[in-house]
């Protein structure tokens, strides 16, 4: 219960107030700034701001969204290298880290509503939390991170919102593909891509192809995905194999179906830990088949407010659980 080690080494107890990057960014002319965000960084303590900068072109009312911006001393800074390694907190044990973490990034819209911002601002803020989680998983030895970026059920949302989301997704990935390749991060996308715009489909194919070599970490993005769809497409694949003579009907069992699921793109297809934000206690049609023994962690924070502290709490909770995978001790 009591730890003999201090949580923070003596020499690192000072909080610095300068951001990590210092590239000046010019604002668009004629833009209205909604809010300003603040971030204070130190070697070992990070406090995230809860605001976001979004710009609105006053000419045609279109919402432009760009990288998360920090302000210090009147200058605006752009976050560049989000994959700088973050040291493992002392309360976490490296040997007990989950191999595969899945995240349902819920609450962007509610976050924006609470702040009096348009929904798009919530999604922009959400991408920053997403980048944080990728960085932390990469740094802390987690092998696979699967995020529920866009559900098949989300297609019923207003077209403006879905187009914005997919556009944001496309730009976010496009801007990070080369960095991911350099760092050994493999990008994989699962879901029914038939409904996606052509540009996004080709970007996905390019990102997967570019990042497939020598991966140290795998990032799986579930886009236009549903757990039921995954099982159904697996069954269709099995049926095709039966028709092609590769399989007999009598051989069909759950293992055969499992091999055809879209998560077979990874060495660790079953999440050890599922995190869902915003206080909802459901899996919402995400990785239904794969979640049989997954530890659930439901957090009340909205996704844009989910940061390192909350992730550490989820991992600590996971490490303290007894997981029996259905058997006895």
């Amino acid at each position: 219960m009591f730890s003999l080690r201090l949580p923070i080494p003596l020499e690192k107890t000072l909080i610095t107030s300068l951001p990590k990057t210092s590239t000046t960014y010019s604002a668009y002319s004629g833009m209205t700034r909604f809010q300003v965000c603040h971030r204070y960084l130190s070697n070992s303590i990070t406090k995230r701001g809860t605001s976001v900068v979004a710009f609105q072109d006053e000419v045609d009312g279109e919402i432009f969204v760009d990288a998360f911006q920090d302000e210090a001393d009147g200058e605006i800074f752009v976050d560049e290298d989000f994959l700088e390694v973050d040291p493992l907190p002392v309360e976490l044990q490296p040997e007990l880290m989950p191999k595969h973490v899945a995240v349902i990034m819920d609450g962007n819209g509610r976050w924006a509503k609470m702040k009096g911002l348009p929904t798009s601002a919530g999604h922009v803020a959400g991408t920053q939390s997403f980048k944080w989680i990728v960085k932390l998983c990469y740094s802390w030895g987690i092998k696979v991170l699967t995020v529920f970026a866009f559900s098949m059920d989300n297609w019923i949302r207003p077209k403006v919102e879905t187009e914005f989301l997919l556009n944001l997704f496309e730009r976010s990935i496009l801007s990070q593909v080369e960095e991911c390749k350099r760092k050994g991060i493999q990008i994989s996308v699962i879901g029914d891509t038939s409904k996606l715009p052509k540009s996004l489909k080709s970007m996905i194919a390019n990102a997967e192809e570019t990042t497939k070599e020598n991966p140290k970490f795998q990032l799986i993005l579930a886009v236009s995905y549903s757990g039921k769809y995954d099982v159904v497409q697996a069954c269709k694949s099995v049926a095709k194999k039966v028709q092609d003579g590769l399989l007999h009907l009598e051989e069909i069992n759950e293992n055969i179906i499992e091999k055809e699921l879209e998560t077979n793109c990874t060495e660790f297809p079953y999440p050890d830990l599922l995190i869902r934000t915003s206080g909802e206690l459901r899996v919402s049609n995400f990785l239904l088949w794969q979640l049989a023994y997954t530890e659930f962690f439901f957090n009340k924070k909205l996704w844009p407010d989910f940061g390192k502290d909350e992730f550490v709490e989820a991992l600590s909770s996971f490490q303290n659980r007894q997981r029996r995978y259905g058997g006895r001790h």
Binding site: M1, F2, S3, L4, L6, P7, L10, D106, R110, S151, D153, N154, I156, R157, S226, G227, K228, V231, V232, C235, K236, V238, A239, K240, V242, Q243, L249, I252, N253, E254, I256, I257, E258, S278, E280, L281, R282, V283, S284, N285, L288, W289, L291, A292, Y293, T294, E295, F296, F297, F298, R321, Q322, R323, R324, G326, R328
Partner: protein, 267 residues
């Protein structure tokens, strides 16, 4: 030289005192955090007893109408305690929850089915009930017993059934119709292989792990999942609180859910 040595020693003493001071502060913080943790646990226990004895008025009236189908997952090791399972079902019956699905991975509850039905006089098996269980009059409990074989294995059997049927219907050189919309056929086939129950609105997990332990995945797309702790420490108050929270919380579904409409009441 003596002055230098003295200064050096003084520096070491100051650092040591500083470090000791920080350690004491750290221990003190840990005591505070631990004490807070135990206060929270005690608070939960007291709240549970207050709910049980009707002290907390807001839990006295539950709007059960929103909870049409409840699932309970019990760890197989704990599932052997049939008396506790029966007690839990009696509690549910007393608050008006009539449609319950009981799951444990190894099928222990299925083996205790007879004992459970003998003890609960007004309970029927879901196989005996012809009408849609979510709409029948609440004069008896309807129980469904499910285990791991009713999950993934059932989907594999259902898929097999569809393939066989499809091959027979399109048996011209063994060509399979890939255009068939598989999902509704899979739903029907699951009914045929014995998976009759609807999607639960709420799933309570009794066990050490916050996991549904293989509950039929096909049925929990939008089910609320609440971890209740071990069956050994189950409390009536905690059960009421979980059900109350479910009925009161605004469910932020992204679509109009078929089995229950989203609540417009906020938490």
């Amino acid at each position: 030289m003596n002055f230098r040595d003295g200064a050096h020693n003084l520096y070491h003493i100051i650092v040591a005192i500083g470090y000791l001071g920080l350690q004491l502060l750290w221990y003190f913080l840990q005591i505070i955090v631990s004490a807070w943790y135990y206060i929270l646990i005690a608070g939960n226990i007291f709240e549970s007893y207050f709910i049980s004895y009707g002290v907390l008025k807001k839990y006295k009236s539950l709007h059960i109408g929103k909870l049409q189908y409840l699932a309970i997952v019990i760890e197989s090791e704990d599932a052997h305690q049939t008396s506790k399972v029966v007690k839990l079902l009696q509690w549910l019956d007393s608050v008006g929850v009539k449609n319950v699905c009981l799951y444990d991975m190894n099928g222990v509850l299925k083996k205790s089915k007879e004992t459970i039905f003998q003890t609960l006089k007004n309970a029927k098996s879901i196989e005996e009930v012809n009408e849609d269980v979510t709409h029948h009059a609440p004069d008896h409990m309807t129980l469904e017993f499910v285990s791991y074989v009713d999950g993934k294995e059932a989907v594999a059997k259902a898929a097999n059934l569809i393939f066989v049927k499809n091959f027979k219907q399109h048996n011209i050189g063994g060509v399979l119709d890939h255009q068939i919309s598989l999902e509704p056929h899979l739903n029907q086939a699951l009914q045929i292989v014995g998976c009759k129950g609807p999607e639960p609105d709420l799933l309570l997990v009794y066990g050490p792990v916050r996991s549904h332990l293989g509950f039929p995945a096909w049925r929990i797309r939008y089910t609320e999942i609440v971890h209740m702790g071990s069956l050994n420490f189950m409390r009536y108050g905690s059960l009421i609180k979980a059900i109350y929270n479910f009925t009161k919380v605004r469910h932020n579904y992204d679509f109009p859910k078929a089995s229950s409409q989203p609540s417009t009441r906020n938490k």
